[in-house]
Symmetry: C2
Subunit: 530 residues, 2 copies
C-alpha cells in the first residue's frame, strides 16, 4: 500500500487553461448545438460591450458557414473601437484577463474568460488558431491567435499591418463538434433575442444556407451609459473592506472611506465613529481583521442612502414594448420597469419584465400551447440551464392563476431582464443566475405587477367570451321567435326578426361589435404599467 | 469617447483564486445552508479518496459546532495516509493543484479545487487560516493555511512538529455566512447518503447541538480499487492524440501507440496503417495535426474491444441492497448493476440503480407523498442543482406509468450512482452531471430494468388489494347468509358460517393469509435483477 510520500510524488499544478481544456462543458461547450451558440454569444457580447464603452451604435454582422459535418466557421464583425496590437493576445487568448474584472461597472462580460474560451475551443478541436483583424482609430493589423495552455499564455503569430478600413474587429474561427440548428436553442434564436434586448444595435446574420437575416436598429438612441461606481458600504464584507484599505493610497482611514466608498460623508463617519472604537485616523494599510469587522458592524447598524441608481441601467420600458410589439405582434403587452434594489446588502440590481399575450407569443411543443420565458442578464439572452436560474425559480413560484393567467396553456411570452454591476451567475458558463433571495423576490414583485395589469385584459376577454356565447344563443332564438310571432300576429317575420335583433344588440352593445371584429387589438398600446 | 488605447489601459490579469473569491457561488458557496454542506462535502470527499488510495478502511469523524449566528466551525478527522509537510500548502491552499487532475483513474475528486476552495471561503469570511494536523507513517506536524489570492500561492504558517498519534489528517476551519439545518439539503442528510454509498466507511457526525450520529461500517470489505487506465483509442480527440504524442518518450509513433493507448495491439496498428498514410515509424513528437486527424479517422473506422471494465468500479448490487434495506426498510427493492459503457467514444462509465418501495422510501412534502431521487457520482451524493443533471433528466424522461409506478404519488426511493474515470460535471461546483446522450440513455436503460422487476411486485400488490376487498365483501355476506339459512334449514348458524368461510377461503387462499398478515415483506430479498 502506498505511503503519503508515494501518493504525493504525482503532485502537479495546472493552469486554468488546462482545466477548461479538460472541462470545457463548464464554459458552455456541451452539446453540438449549444457549443455553436456559445461561440456566437461570446463574440457578440464582446462586440456589444466594446461599442457601448466607446459610445458607438453597434453594427454587428455574424456569419456561420458549414465546412463539413459538425465543423463550422464563425465570423463576427463589429464597428467598435478595435483592440490595440499590444493587448490582442491577452484579450482573446488568455483566460482570466481583461479590462472588466476589477471594475464596478455594469457590463455584459465580467470575467475575462469568454473570447479566450472560443480560442481554446477552436484550437483543441481543429488545431487551428483564430484569425483576427483589428482596426483602431490609429492602426490596423491582422494576426493568428492561440493559447499555450500549459502556461495560459497567448501565442500571437503572423502579425501583419494592414490598411485601415473603418473601425472594429473581425474575428474568425473554425470549430469542430458543433452543429447549426434552427431551433429554440439555436444561433438564430440567440441573435433574435439579442436584437430584442438591444434595440440600439443593428445585427445581421447569415446562416449556413446563405440566408441573411437583418435585425434593424429600432432605436437611434445610444443607450445611457451606466456609471462606474464606488462600492456601497452595505455591500462590503470584512474581507472587501480590508482589501480596499490595503490597496489604498490615502493616509488616513477616514479619508480612504470618504474617497473609496459610495454615499460616505463626514457625517456618516461621525455616526460610525460613535458606534465603534477603531481609530479612523490610522493608516488604512494597518487596518486589522478585527478592526475591519468592527467597522463593518458599525456600518451595518446605521442608515444609508441606497446605491446610486445611475450605476444600473436597464433596457427601458418603452424600448421593451417596441421590441415585443415588433417581434411578437401580441394582443396585449404589459411592461414593468422596477426601481433599482440591492442584494447581498449593497450590490444594486434592477428588474424589467414584459408580458405579451396572443399574436406570436408563447410557444408550441408538439401542438401544445405554452408560455415562453425569455431570460436576459444585462441584455444578454440566457438560453440554457434554465432549471437552476433565479428567473425560472421566480416564474415557477408565481401563482399565475390568481391573475387569471396560465403559463401551461396560454399564448404568453414573458421577457425578464436583470441589470447589475455584478450578476451572480451560478456557473462559469453564465447561463443561469444564482438564486439570491433578494433577486428572486424582486423578480416576483415585477411579475406580479405586470400580471395584475395583464389580468384586467384577460378577465375582460374571458367575460367577453362568456357574453359572446350568450349573445349567440339568444340570437339563435330570435329566428324561431320571429317565425312563431309571424303566425300569431300576422306581422312579417323579417320585420320582427330585425326588431328583435336590435333589442338584443342593445343589451350587448360591445359584444356585437366584438363578434364582428374578433381580432381587435385595442388594448395593445395603453398598457404600460410603469 | 475613449479610444481603444484608453480603454485597454485598464487591462489586467488575475489569478484563479481572485476569480473564485469573487465568484464563490460557482464552487457551491451559494446560500447559507448549501455553503456549509459544500465545506463538509469537500473534506469528506478528500478523506474517502485518500483512504481508498492507501487501501485503508475509512474511519471519518465530522463535527460541526456553532460559534455565533451564521458562523460555524467544521472539524473533519480521517485515518488516511496523511499529507507530507512538503505538499500540505499546495494540497489545501492552492487552487488547481493536486494529484488527481492528470490521472486516468476513477476518483471522487478530480479537479484540485475543493479543499483549497474551503480555505479561500474561510479566509474571506473570517480572516482566519484553516488549521491542519497531519500524521503520516513517518512524521506528524500541524500548521495554519491560507491563500495568497493575488498569486494563487499557499501561505503556510506556524508549522510545528507534533507527536505521532495514529495516521490521517485533522482539518479545522471556521466559516461565516453558513447555517446548520436539519433538512433534505443539510449536512446530516449529506453524511447519511455518503454512508449509504460507502458501506466500507465508518462515519460519525456530531451536530451543533452535541448530538452524535454514527453510521456504522456495514461492509468490512475494502472496496476493489479501480485501476488507472490508459486512454482508449475511441475516446481520443485529435488534440488528445497530438498532446500524448508530443509528451511521449517513444521513438516511433507505433511504439508510442502500443505503449500509451489501451487495447492497442500490433494487429490493430496494421489495420490502422491500411486505412491511413501516416508513417507509423516517425517520431511521435513530429506528428502534425493533419496526420493526427487522419489517424483518429482511421482509429474510428475500425472495431475495438471496449475499455477495460476494471477501470470503473461501482458500489455493487449487494452493497446497495444492504444499504437501502438498513436505511429505508422498504417492502421491496430492485437493484440493477449495468455493465460498463463508454461515452464520447471511449470514456468508460457504469450505472447502478436501486429502486426501493414502501417502508421509509420516498418523501413527504407538505403531506403529499412523492418519490425521492438520490443522485451519486463516484459514490459522492449530489445534493443540489438537480434540475440540470443528466440523472434527473433520465428519471423525468422515464415512462413510469408503463411499469405501474408513479413517482408523483408513491413511496419510492430511487438510488442512482454513476462511476467513471471522468465524470463530466456541468459546473465547477460538481453538483450536476452534464447531459451527455450516452449517459442519459444508459441511466434510462438501468431504470427500465429495475422498474420492470419492481412492476411485478407492484402489480401483484394491486391485484392483491382488489381481491382483498372482494374477499372482504364476500365474507360480509356469509354472516347474513348463515342467519338466513339457519331459518330455512334449522341448521346451527355457527356451523353454516364456518363452512361458508372455509368455502370462501378456499377460493382466496393467499388472500386470507395476506389479509391476516398485511405487512409481510416476502418480496424484499429475492429481487436483485442483476
Amino acid at each position: 500500500m502506498p505511503t503519503a510520500d508515494e501518493i504525493f510524488k504525482d503532485f502537479r499544478e495546472h493552469s486554468i487553461a488546462e482545466f477548461f481544456k479538460k472541462n470545457r462543458q463548464m464554459l458552455g461547450y456541451a452539446g453540438i448545438v449549444r457549443s455553436l451558440v456559445t461561440v456566437v454569444h461570446e463574440y457578440v457580447t464582446n462586440s456589444l460591450d466594446a461599442c457601448e464603452e466607446a459610445g458607438i451604435l453597434p453594427d454587428i454582422s455574424v456569419k456561420v458557414s458549414q465546412v463539413e459535418e459538425n465543423r463550422y466557421r464563425v465570423t463576427v464583425r463589429d464597428n467598435g473601437p478595435g483592440i490595440p496590437k499590444k493587448y490582442v493576445g491577452k484579450a482573446l487568448a488568455m483566460i482570466l484577463s481583461g479590462t472588466k474584472f476589477h471594475r464596478h461597472l455594469q457590463q455584459r462580460g465580467q470575467q475575462g474568460i469568454g473570447a479566450a474560451g472560443c480560442t481554446l475551443f477552436s484550437q483543441v478541436t481543429t488545431g487551428k488558431p483564430v484569425h483576427v483583424r483589428s482596426y483602431t482609430s490609429t492602426a490596423a493589423f491582422e494576426c493568428d491567435l492561440s493559447i499555450d495552455t500549459l502556461h495560459n499564455r497567448p501565442v500571437v503569430n503572423n502579425t501583419i499591418d494592414i490598411d485601415r478600413d473603418g473601425m472594429g474587429i473581425i474575428v474568425e474561427g473554425e470549430f469542430v463538434g458543433v452543429k447549426y440548428e434552427n431551433s429554440e436553442h439555436g444561433v438564430l434564436e440567440y441573435i433574435k433575442r439579442t436584437a430584442l434586448a438591444n434595440p440600439q444595435a443593428q445585427i445581421s446574420f447569415t446562416d449556413p444556407f446563405g440566408k441573411e437575416f437583418v435585425f434593424i436598429r429600432s432605436s437611434e438612441k445610444t443607450p445611457e451609459r451606466p456609471k462606474a461606481t464606488k462600492p456601497h458600504p452595505l455591500g462590503l464584507s470584512v474581507n472587501d473592506l480590508l482589501e480596499l484599505a490595503q490597496t489604498s493610497e490615502s493616509r488616513k482611514l477616514s479619508s480612504f472611506m470618504l474617497e473609496s466608498l459610495a454615499r460616505t460623508t463626514p457625517n456618516k463617519l461621525n455616526e460610525i465613529q460613535k458606534r465603534c472604537k477603531v481609530d479612523l485616523s490610522k493608516n488604512p494599510k494597518e487596518l486589522t481583521w478585527s478592526e475591519a469587522e468592527e467597522l463593518v458592524k458599525a456600518i451595518q447598524s446605521i442608515k444609508w442612502i441606497a446605491p446610486d441608481s445611475a450605476s444600473v441601467i436597464g433596457i427601458g420600458a418603452d424600448q421593451i414594448k417596441i421590441a415585443l410589439k415588433s417581434i411578437l405582434n401580441p394582443e396585449f403587452i404589459s411592461v414593468v420597469e422596477r426601481k433599482p434594489q440591492v442584494f447581498k446588502g449593497g450590490i444594486p440590481f434592477m428588474v424589467e419584465v414584459g408580458i405579451a399575450y396572443g399574436g406570436n407569443s408563447g410557444r408550441r411543443v408538439e401542438d401544445v400551447q405554452m408560455a415562453s420565458i425569455m431570460r436576459f442578464a444585462n441584455r444578454v439572452p440566457l438560453m440554457f440551464d434554465s432549471g437552476s436560474c433565479a428567473i425560472t425559480e421566480a416564474v415557477r413560484d408565481m401563482q399565475w392563476k390568481r391573475y387569471s393567467l396560465d403559463i401551461d396553456t396560454q399564448p404568453i411570452s414573458i421577457f425578464i431582464n436583470i441589470s447589475s454591476v455584478y450578476i451572480p451567475y451560478a456557473g462559469v458558463g453564465k447561463e443561469a443566475i444564482s438564486q439570491e433571495e433578494e433577486i428572486v423576490d424582486e423578480i416576483k414583485l415585477a411579475l406580479m405587477e405586470a400580471a395584475r395589469s395583464m389580468q384586467r385584459y384577460v378577465r375582460g376577454r374571458q367575460l367577453k367570451s362568456i357574453e359572446e356565447s350568450r349573445y349567440k344563443i339568444v340570437m339563435r332564438y330570435t329566428k324561431q321567435l320571429a317565425t312563431d310571432l309571424e303566425e300569431l300576429t300576422s306581422t312579417d317575420k323579417k320585420d320582427i326578426e330585425e326588431r328583435l335583433e336590435k333589442l338584443v344588440a342593445k343589451h350587448y352593445p360591445k359584444l356585437k361589435q366584438g363578434a364582428e371584429n374578433p381580432n381587435e387589438a385595442e388594448n395593445t398600446s395603453d398598457s404600460n404599467s410603469v
